[in-house]
Amino acid sequence: MLPIVSITLFLPLLGAAVLVALPGVSARIAHAIGVSFSGLALLGAFWMWARGAGEGFSQIEEVEWIPSLGAAYRVGVDGISLPLVLMTAILFFVSMVFSAGVRERARSYVALFLLLETASIGVFVALDAILFYVFFEVTLVGMYFIIAGWGYEDRQRAALTFFIYTLLGSLPLLLAILALYLGSDPNTFDMRELIASPPLTGLAATLALIAMLVTFFVKIPVIPVHTWLPAAHVEAPTAGSVILAGVLLKLGTYGLVRFALQMTPDAFRALAPIVAGVAVVSALYGAFVALAQTDLKRMVAYTSVNHMGYLVLGVAVAAAAADPNAGVLALDGAVLQMVAHGFVTGALFLLVGMLQDRAHTREMGDFSGLLRIVPALGWAFVLAAFASLGLPGLAHFPAEFQIFLGALGVYPAAVIAVLGIAVTAGLYLRAIQAVFLGEARDEWTGLKDLGTRELLSLVPLLALTVLLGVAPFLVLDVVHATTQGILP
């Protein structure tokens, strides 16, 4: 059998290597290479999707590495990681298509994105804790250079904040991994073993869990360690924001499920009320702070804090649930929320970027009446905004519905988080009203509507947003098969 997981994983890296080996290629060719290799990786991801995932891990590929340490190259997927791999491949592909307009140092830009793609897919398919950690760290390096090299005005400070934050944040994870390793018998980094029989108990498990929570909370992000996010988003180039919000935040939430929930389940159950509390506060806080923003990109960035808050709530509920129904429900919702947020927020960041490319501003107050001038962009924004505020028929609704429903069964008080959906409705409608409704000012009448390249990158995300909303079972059936087995 073809090792399709590894092929998908390393195709983008191969593309990056090709670019490194070809000094002095034109921007055009660099982008062609980028689009083709991320396209091939996307085909690989579809192939993996077609093969499917069962209850446990499947499509395993394993190569001996350091047998004496129990470390090996191990990759594979289950119902939680498979949708994320497909989402990652899709987001990178549309980002490469959208980025085809970048002329400045295009070769390095494309190579960094391809490196980042391999690292991101790697995090989701890794079944070895060390492999996971290496990929986890490499994504950081890639994103640092993308923000610092191609961002907006204040990019270097933002990149630095991002870097220090998440770098210091990820050290505890290494400690936790070492603790898990030392606790396991025989010592191994095989995540399947660590999941099947969680090695730590008591205080050690709690300390390891706290270490993991620190790492993942910074990455997700959850308040109060979210402050790198708006800065990084505002300064990042558009495609960088798409990947940052769409994929990199999911590394944190995925880790929360894969490591915290699955490797220290008992400790997580004990700490679940605290995590759920932090998640609810984070969700509401994110919604309210987003409401105060007048910069569209900052606003979308803060809504991520809101959506990730729901997601963490879902995982906490899954950890705490005595009733497996509630836990599975919430965990299904949390996984679907990862996928939904990737598509919806990806589309929103693309749209804000498109607006900025045209108008060179992101301030709501600078605009008015754009719906008549740029109808395609306007309607696309309306669709994506309604998806983000959780309208039924669009991707976030089934996810959030399941999370809230699960939460009510376990922590009735957490249902206060539904207030967030009214606040997000308010902030998006306000943005739509300010930017797109009313009569257009003269200065904007010359704006051009979406071009082919922009439509090609946007339409797939919007179509998937609708598809996920109308037929969530396409993804949930895969997720559900696995989550049912995870929770007792």
């Binding site: 770098l167 070492l178 109060p224 708006p230 719906l371 429903l405 009510l408 409705a425 009313g438």
Partner: protein, 633 residues
């Protein structure tokens, strides 16, 4: 077949968006298909059949459609109203730009409403409940370039969505209590859960049906095209609230019924007064809608959902006639302010005749439909255990209806006739006439309706007499109101709609925005603080680790040191590869550190940055080496 009631309009909406031509014809075709499907469903149900369909949805929570007497009756009402309103709209929208957007929106609206009506599980009901909110947002905002339209659409969506939170939580409670999302089985819930869920459902219904204190948005929504108003008020958005309570009636415990009755009674009176004070015909009709839905809630509270349903159906015909008539006047005079409409009835006598019939029906004159349906509501109130609470507001609201109907009729009749010729008059007449006929005759539908539902329509001689007396009193008082003005200090307040505080904006939006601004300030402060803390905390943490002699900390620190040694060695030997990248990063960080220091002096020390960043990165990249050392300990 039943599915076509939803799919017909839905397909029409899709076809219109794709083809972008023949919008009105496609929309009418979709509505026609939907109507036939709804009638066929009613016929099957009337012959005793009950059936349902299960569709894939969420795991363990499939979507369901059910055909039973209540859903079939409602589906027919929605289908008839939408088909007639779309016929009218074909004339009304002639010459307007954006036809495809309008007709696609209307068709989608109808499809979502039919999904809500047929929904057999809470997930589908909640989904369609929110989708009709979206449709009304898009349609109220149809003329989005005009001033005030965007904010009215926003307000309509926000009001209703905030109230929808009640439905969300109610649905969660019901699903957990019953262990299923099937509506019919969740309605057997009892105890505290039923009280909580019932009251929450009431909140959601009050938002959609524009009940006190959430009625302000409905009047602002009048900036939308008139057919939209007609559809909103008769059979879709506003009706959804009452429909929810009628369907959930078996669940509602005493406490919820009491609140429903009180809320309905209070709303019926307050919004009745507001209607009397309006200086604009459409705003009058909007306030009147709140008042009539208040009567339906009152009927539910009195324990007679069938009376509420009867009034809902009759009201759909009456209010549609009134709105469509108002739309004709609007086309003639270019406005709906009474000042501009004076005497318009003389110029459009046929329309005015229809408007009068519908208005008198609404006021409750026999033998028109409103007499029977309102009598059912009144009789229900009389029979109820809480008659002393429910009868006075019901009678008062009936009298107020007479007042504003008579006042409107008089204002439309007095003055100079004439006005611009109305284009598309045939289409408009074609939609309006059947509504007027229905408004006049639907009183006959009460008995068959009750038989189909297996319930009895409350009837009571005393209530009929008192109701008629109240209506006549109101009508004569309304006709004599000098200049149609209300007396004294009540006027201004009532005209503005009795907005408590400063309404939604003052009570909800402003505090929310203030909280948002405060948290934003906090967040900006937090960013500086945390970044500083990270900068300061890192050296002390490193110091701690350095001092620490025991345990994992030491091991890891040793690991870090070992990796640094390895890194140093590699750096000497190898100029390329990972090491090169790391050194580039270190150089970059050093440069950035300098820049950051310029930006924020004292925030981050350069040396610290380099030490921490480089050390940690090497640690990460050379994880393999780390394991070697770690495993040895």
């Amino acid at each position: 077949m039943t599915c076509l009631a939803i799919l017909g309009p839905l397909a029409a909406a899709a076809a219109i968006l794709i083809l972008r031509r023949g919008a009105a014809a496609l929309a009418l075709l979709g509505a026609g298909v939907g109507l036939v499907a709804a009638l066929a469903t009613l016929a099957r149900v009337a012959s005793g059949e009950r059936y349902s369909a299960v569709l894939p949805g969420l795991p363990e929570l499939p979507l369901r459609l059910v055909a039973e007497p209540l859903t079939a009756v409602l589906a027919v009402a929605v289908a008839i109203a939408s088909a007639l309103i779309l016929t009218y709209a074909a004339g009304y929208m002639r010459g307007e730009r954006g036809g495809p957007r309008f007709f696609a929106g209307m068709s989608f609206f109808v499809a979502a409403m039919q999904a809500l009506v047929f929904a057999g599980d809470w997930v589908l009901l909640l989904a369609s409940w929110e989708l009709i909110g979206l449709s009304s947002y898009l349609l109220i905002g149809f003329w989005y370039r005009r001033p005030g339209v965007g904010s009215a659409a926003t307000r309509a969506f926000l009001y209703t969505r905030t109230a929808d939170l009640g439905l969300y939580v109610a649905v969660f409670v019901l699903i957990w209590q019953a262990g299923t999302s099937e509506i019919s089985r969740t309605l057997e819930t009892g105890g505290t859960a039923a009280v909580v869920a019932g009251l929450l459902l009431l909140v959601a219904a009050a938002g959609k049906s524009a009940q006190a204190p959430l009625y302000g948005w409905l009047q602002d929504a009048m900036v939308g095209p008139t057919p939209v108003s007609a559809l909103l008020h008769s059979a879709t958005l506003v009706a959804a609230g009452a429909i929810l309570l009628i369907r959930a009636f078996p669940l509602l415990p005493e406490e919820a019924l009491l609140v429903a009755g009180l809320l309905g009674g209070i709303t019926a009176v307050i919004t009745g007064v507001i209607a009397v004070a309006q200086g604009d015909l459409k705003r009058l009709l909007a306030a009147s809608t709140s008042s009539q839905y208040g009567l339906m809630l009152l009927a539910v509270g009195a324990g007679s959902p069938v009376a509420a349903l009867f009034h809902l159906v009759a009201h759909a015909a009456m209010k549609s006639s009134l709105f469509l008539g108002a739309g004709v006047f609007q086309s003639a005079r270019g406005s709906t302010a009474f000042g501009d409409l004076a005497g318009v009835g003389r110029g459009h006598r046929l329309t005015f005749a229809g408007f009068t019939v519908a208005g008198l029906a609404l006021a409750g004159l026999p033998p028109l439909s409103g007499f029977f349906s309102k009598d059912a509501v009144l009789a229900a109130a009389f029979e109820s255990e809480r008659a002393w609470l429910l009868v006075p507001p019901a009678l008062l609201a009936t009298a107020l209806t007479g007042v504003y109907v008579a006042r409107a009729l008089r204002l439309l009749w007095r003055g100079e006739g004439g006005g611009a010729p109305v284009s598309g008059a045939w289409w408009m007449g074609g939609g309006l006439t059947p509504f007027v006929v229905l408004a006049a005759s639907l009183g006959l539908a009460g008995e068959p309706l009750a038989r189909l539902l297996g319930a009895e329509i409350p009837q009571d001689l005393l209530s009929a007499i008192l109701g008629l007396a109240a209506a006549l009193l109101g009508l004569s008082f309304g006709w004599t109101l000098s200049g149609g003005r209300m007396p004294g200090p009540l006027l201004t307040s009532a005209e503005r709609g009795f907005r408590i505080g400063s309404g939604f904006y003052g009570l909800v939006a402003r505090p929310a925005l203030a909280l948002a601004a405060a948290l934003d300030l906090l967040d900006r402060g937090l960013h500086g603080k945390i970044t500083t803390a990270v900068g300061r905390g890192a050296p002390s943490a490193a110091h701690l680790v350095d001092l620490s002699d025991r345990g994992l900390h030491r091991a890891v620190f040793g690991v870090g040191r070992a990796s640094l040694e390895v890194a140093r060695a590699t750096r000497v030997s190898d100029e390329s590869g990972i090491d090169g990248a790391i050194r580039a990063l270190v150089r970059g960080t050093r440069r950035l550190g300098g820049q950051a220091r310029e930006l924020q002096t004292g925030l981050i020390h350069r040396e610290l940055l380099i030490a921490v960043a480089a050390g940690a990165l090497v640690l990460a990249a050379l994880a393999v080496g780390a394991i070697g050392a770690g495993g040895g300990l």
